[in-house]
Amino acid sequence: MKIASNELQALQPARPLAFDVGRLRGDFPILARRVHGQPLVYLDNAATSQKPRAVVDAEARYYAEYNANIHRGLHCLSEEATAAYEAARDRVQRFVNAARREEIVFVRGTTEAINLVAASYGQRLRPGDEILISAMEHHSNIVPWQLLCERSGARLCVAPIDDAGQLRLDEFERLLGPRTRLVAVTHVSNALGSINPVAELVALAHAHGAAVLVDGAQAVPHLKVDVQALDCDFYAFSGHKLYGPTGVGVLYGKAALLDAMPPWQGGGDMIRQVSFARTTYNDLPYKFEAGTPNIAGGIGLGAAIDYVDALGLDAVAAHERDLLAYATARAADTPGLRLIGTAAAKAGILSFVVDGVHAHDVGTILDRAGVAVRSGHHCAMPVMERFGVPATVRASFALYNTRAEVDALFAALARVREVFA
């Protein structure tokens, strides 16, 4: 008797394939290298993640085999390049579950995405209008709004966070008012790891008639994002934190909003017709993509999304949750170590200070043990001020990290204590 393959599958226990970190690590060439004679333990993933060979190869293949400008040439190479670049846009659309591909604007990164919204959408702000952000924002989700406030006469309001590094929902709601035009919040804090209840924030903001931009730079590598389920108006992220290349990122915007917004940069590709009397603009998303974009980067980002999709973000998230729980438990057993950011809902970030030792000295000593972390203010100086520390040490996890690497981190921290004994 012949059994249909789908029946065979049904006989298997309904368990996903084990997440085989050992095998995955082989996909990332850089993880084989040594630093200062030690195996590299890369725990600075919130700054930028490492790239799988598939991403490196996708970029190289574009340059080696079909490098050409896009949307312009009638020749074969240009058609191939255009098709690859636009296919990457489709992948991004599916990845964040946008309703339409036109809602995916390629930009340089999260920072540029936010600046685009501030420059374009921001033109509708008037004196006395309010922009509400949170106290855990990255500088890139603070400064563009301050600049917009200077230009428009709008006012910046800041929703505070509690001692665990969680957004104060009551305060957030209290600060939403009839003048609130725009809410800009991070999905996951890069300095603390806190995950914000974005869908809830969006519902509250919309009830007050405010549009919402979500900074997803630290979220997309770690949790499944569905922009339609969140119902946010804008969602920004960077390719390089998602195992993709630097210099490429995404602004998602609801089509109706993007359509109504003026262009922010002028140039080639963003126009339909140019004459000295009058210029008409291109359709979405090209209206916001002036000039030759980062073609290789876009293609590389598509490859990165394919890579993550094949593993499944849920499996990645479960693995990182395990690492965070393990690291948090080890931190609790480490005298003199204080965690900064202890939210109930956290993504894979362990931010901490060591009693009597500056974060920079910790970073230097860890580096000599091959352990790469970030020490500093993490472009979130207001967060540092809130917790009364000049800087923290931040270990941040990715899909290829292991418990053994967490052990290496804590072994290196024991060295810190020796040096400063």
Binding site: G356, T364, R368, A369, P390, V419
Partner: protein
Amino acid sequence: MNPATDDLRDLYQEMVVDHSRRPRNFGRPADANHHAEGYNPLCGDRVTVYLRVVDGVIEAVGFEGSGCAISTASASLMTEALKGKTPAEAEALFADFRALVSGTAPGGGAAAALGKLAVLAGVQEFPARVKCATLAWHTLRAALHDEAEPVSTE
């Protein structure tokens, strides 16, 4: 022994750790007549250097601020080294010190004039930390020139 570990021992010598823990001349000397602020935006280190300069001689030096072990120890050692020097001698000392920690000193060694400051020679193996070691000195120079704007290492 692991060379990476030896580098660390060279950097965090006992005297460096001691000066970072118990900085000398911490605070504002009485009758200070020059001061300046320094800031390293990368790590958040802040230092204020105070001087009392009388008849072309640095009579008293003090500093305040918070920073990493290297910047605090460097500031502390600097205050000890400057007492009794003229501003020109202080500038010359800074030039020698900077050459030492950035690894550009002739022969790589410490100029004799540096004295105890030579304990920071280990910084040359840590390029990212040179700014920590020189922050207080840049601030000193600003204080000598009465610069009102804080000095930034960036």
